[in-house]
């Protein structure tokens, strides 16, 4: 309890520190997170954009490169083949020239193949089976003029393996370095190249075939030559295709790219897929087996293009260009994945870098959180200490103040608060001390008034006759009265006195209001009534006189309700006047109490010049009168219920024949029971008078 302010301040400091720390840290973390998200997004976008751009660029570049490559390889291949074409054209032309003008040339002899000439390029004569040199001496001699040409042509191109001529009469002249591999018998007219060229009448290319001596794939280009009678023979150039392999097959493009040449049938004659079987037959794949038909058609029709094709479920780029010497097409194929691989790798690089950055940022966030937790713990620790100091500083004087107030509250008005904090608390303590000084003055004043009121209560009590029985020598009546004020001094009063030796006067009165004003007014009223009664006036005259006197100078508008009654002791005649007071109870004879109701006059001191009517009732011996004030009938319980006239009547009738003082005490007890501890709001005043009889 004493420490609650202390704790409140401490809690407040703690909470505000934590909230501030939380806010700062959360803001920082939120910023980092936003930054992180933004970086991830940007980096992702950047990555994919860069990848897309570089992929496009790479694709374009690669396509162009592929096209260039295909074109370039085709051109190189073509140059070599064209050289052969030019060569065969020259040979055929010269041969035609020689055979058309035999008279211009002397016969020149040519040797049959001689193994000693192996490796040396020499012209060799061979004859078809059954043909004798003597029969074809003229032709052979004429052909001999072309020996030098054939040899020089053979040596002109390193890939030319053999240059030869064949004639219609079965003579063959060839120039090469293979003298050791030949016999003297050879019939050119049975060979495919001879027959094709003769049949076509122009330049032909044979199919690719495997060289009989195992030197690889070969091909022959042939062209007929003429004399004035028509075809005289056919010239041919046999060449190894090894150079094409160098140009084409050994062309590698990246990791997966490769090149090949197809002939006009789509057979991949120059390709690393070409094999030669045990019968020396060439086995090649056909492009139609794996390329789409439109691509195949375009390629075989001499198109130049680059296309995307699907081979075995994977995308490839194929670029092709035609050769011009032959109806062939050179193609370069490359996996599309590989084309875009650098793009993918740069995309992956960017994404990887982003990921790394994000990991870095996450680490920063973690670190920030760590710092935050550390800061929070530090803040907690710091603010706990700070809060303790702050609250101790604040709470200590407050606790002193509270304890001091407690001591003063317990009644020690001499206690001084001594707080020197130099702030509002000190001002408060000062004000408190001043207040206590004032309270001491007020209390002293109050104590003085209280003491005086005590005296006043005693005076008031002593003004009411209180010795019972009051007149021991009068046994004609018995009388008891009591007054219990609600506050120290009350406004009720009763009185009784002997007006003369045969007349007993009784008064029951209630001054409006309570406390000192009512008590003062009561003293005046009581004195006036008694004085007037003792001056020999009747009750009516007494009230009329007292009323007028009280009305003078009654600025406070006080008033009195009162009953004044004279008992004629010898006869029991009771003459009374009622000025606005509660009707008395009368017990007449052996019956119970009943109201002694008369039309009452106006209250005393209310209005000047009022007249009052007096009434008489003849009391029989043992008749009883009970006078009271409204403090009896209007006593209230906690529910604001009134004790009420009926309850008074009932209570009185339930307790007949008691001694008068006992009766009064009993009524008082019933009222207390009824009130159930509710504070007494009004003076409770009662007077009982029993007439015992006039016969002395």
């Amino acid at each position: 309890m004493k420490r609650s302010i202390f704790k409140k301040i401490q809690k407040q400091v703690l909470i505000s520190s934590i909230v501030a720390a939380l806010a700062v840290c959360l803001a920082a973390v939120a910023c980092i997170v936003v930054m992180r998200d933004s970086l991830v997004t940007t980096s992702g976008e950047l990555g994919s954009a860069a990848a897309r751009d570089s992929r496009d660029a790479l694709e374009t570049q690669m396509e162009r490169a592929l096209m260039t490559l295909a074109d370039n390889r085709a051109t190189i291949s073509d140059q070599k083949l064209t050289a052969v074409v030019r060569m065969i054209d020259g040979i055929a032309y010269n041969s035609s020239e020689v055979v058309s003008n035999p008279h211009n040339y002397l016969p020149r002899s040519v040797d049959f193949p001689n193994a000693d000439n192996a490796g040396i390029t020499v012209a060799q004569l061979r004859l078809a089976e059954g043909v004798h040199l003597s029969e074809v001496q003229a032709t052979a001699g004429l052909m001999g003029n072309l020996s030098e040409l054939l040899i020089s042509e053979h040596d002109a191109l390193d890939y030319v393996r053999s240059v030869y001529l064949g004639t219609e009469d079965g003579v063959s002249l060839s120039a090469d370095g293979d003298s050791d591999k030949k016999t003297n018998v050879f019939d050119p007219r049975t060979r495919g190249w001879y027959q094709s060229a003769k049949e076509t009448g122009g330049l032909i290319w044979t199919d690719v075939f495997a060289d009989a001596t195992g030197r690889g794939l070969t091909i022959t280009c042939a062209k007929p030559f003429y004399d004035e009678n028509g075809i005289y023979g056919v010239a041919g150039v046999g060449m190894l295709l090894e150079f094409l392999n160098e140009i084409v097959v050994e062309t590698t493009v990246g990791e997966t790219g490769y090149a090949f040449i197809t002939n006009e049938h789509g057979e991949m004659i120059i390709s690393d897929t070409v094999t030669i079987d045990e019968n020396n037959a060439v086995i090649s794949r056909n492009v139609a087996e794996f390329l789409p038909q439109d691509t195949v058609t375009d390629m075989l029709n001499g198109g130049t293009n680059i296309r995307q094709v699907e081979i075995d479920g994977e995308l490839y780029l194929i670029s092709y260009a035609p050769l011009s010497a032959l109806p062939w097409s050179l193609a370069v194929v490359m996996s599309a994945d590989e084309v875009i691989a650098p793009a993918l790798s740069s995309e992956n690089n960017i994404i990887g870098m982003t990921r790394k950055a994000v990991v870095g940022i996450d680490r920063v966030i973690l670190f920030a959180l760590g710092v935050f937790v550390a800061a929070l713990l530090l803040t907690l620790y710091g603010s706990a200490i700070l809060g303790r100091r702050l609250s101790a500083g604040l709470a200590k004087p407050i606790i002193e103040l509270s304890e001091g107030a407690g001591i003063i509250g317990a009644g020690d008005l001499e206690h001084k608060l001594d707080i020197k904090t130099g702030d509002e608390l000190e001002a408060m303590a000062c004000a408190f001390n001043t207040m206590i000084t004032n309270i001491k003055v007020i209390t002293a004043e109050k104590e003085r008034i209280g003491a005086e009121l005590d005296v006043a209560t005693q005076i008031q009590a002593s003004m009411l006759p209180s010795i019972f029985p009051p007149y021991p020598d009068h046994d004609e009546f018995d009388l008891f009265a009591s007054m219990q004020p609600a506050k120290e001094v009350g406004g009720d009063f009763y009185d009784f006195f002997l007006v003369d030796e045969n007349t007993l006067a009784v008064v029951m009165a209630d001054v409006s209001g309570k406390g000192v004003p009512a008590a003062l007014f009561m003293v005046i009223a009581k004195t006036l009534i008694k004085n007037n009664a003792q001056s020999g006036k009747s009750p009516k005259e007494v009230f009329e006189s007292v009323n007028n006197i009280l009305c003078e100078n009654n600025d406070a508008n006080m008033f009195v309700t009162a009953i004044l009654g004279y008992l004629d002791i010898p006869t029991g005649k009771f003459t009374f006047v009622n000025a606005g007071h509660n009707p008395p109870l009368l017990r007449s004879g052996k019956a119970g109490f009943d109201w002694l109701k008369t039309r009452p006059g106006f209250i005393l001191a209310g209005m000047e010049g009022m007249s009052y009517t007096q009434h008489e009732v003849l009391l029989q011996p043992n008749d009883e009168l009970f006078l009271y004030t409204d403090g009896v009938t209007e006593a209230m319980n906690n529910e604001k219920d009134l004790f009420s006239d009926p309850r008074l009547l009932e209570t009185a009738n339930n307790h007949l024949d008691l001694h008068l003082s006992e009766f009064t005490n009993l009524i008082k007890k019933e009222i207390d029971d009824f009130a159930e501890g509710a504070e007494q709001a009004d003076d409770i005043t009662m007077l009982s008078l029993r007439y015992t009889g006039g016969g002395k």
Binding site: D510, G513, N557, F559, G580, P600, F602, I603, G606, M607
Partner: protein
């Protein structure tokens, strides 16, 4: 106690609600006495009044005197039988006017 004021056809009606006793009668005194300067006809509506003590009677008497002094009238309306009994017992029924 609650006092509500309402003007109706030149008559000021004060409706008293609750108990008119030592605690509440100063309130009525402060409200009632000044009204006679401006209002010639004042009616105190007692329909919601539960109780009148002697302190209440005093204020009613002061009101009555104030009204007479200013040449105005003060009338009581809807007085319950319990309260009327108090008026009769104290003789106030003779000096007060009832509407």
């Amino acid at each position: 106690m609650t006092i509500t004021q309402k003007a109706e056809n030149g008559t000021l009606i004060l409706t008293l609600e609750g108990r008119l006793d030592t605690a509440t009668s100063p309130q009525l005194q402060d409200t009632l006495l000044p009204v006679f300067g401006e209002n010639k006809d004042v009616v105190l509506d007692f329909s919601k009044l539960a109780y009148v003590s002697s302190a209440g009677l005093r204020v009613l008497l002061m009101g009555q005197k104030e009204a007479q002094g200013k040449g105005a009238s003060m009338k009581l309306s809807n007085v319950s039988s319990d309260i009327m009994e108090v008026f009769e017992m104290t003789g106030f029924s003779d000096i007060l006017s009832f509407a």
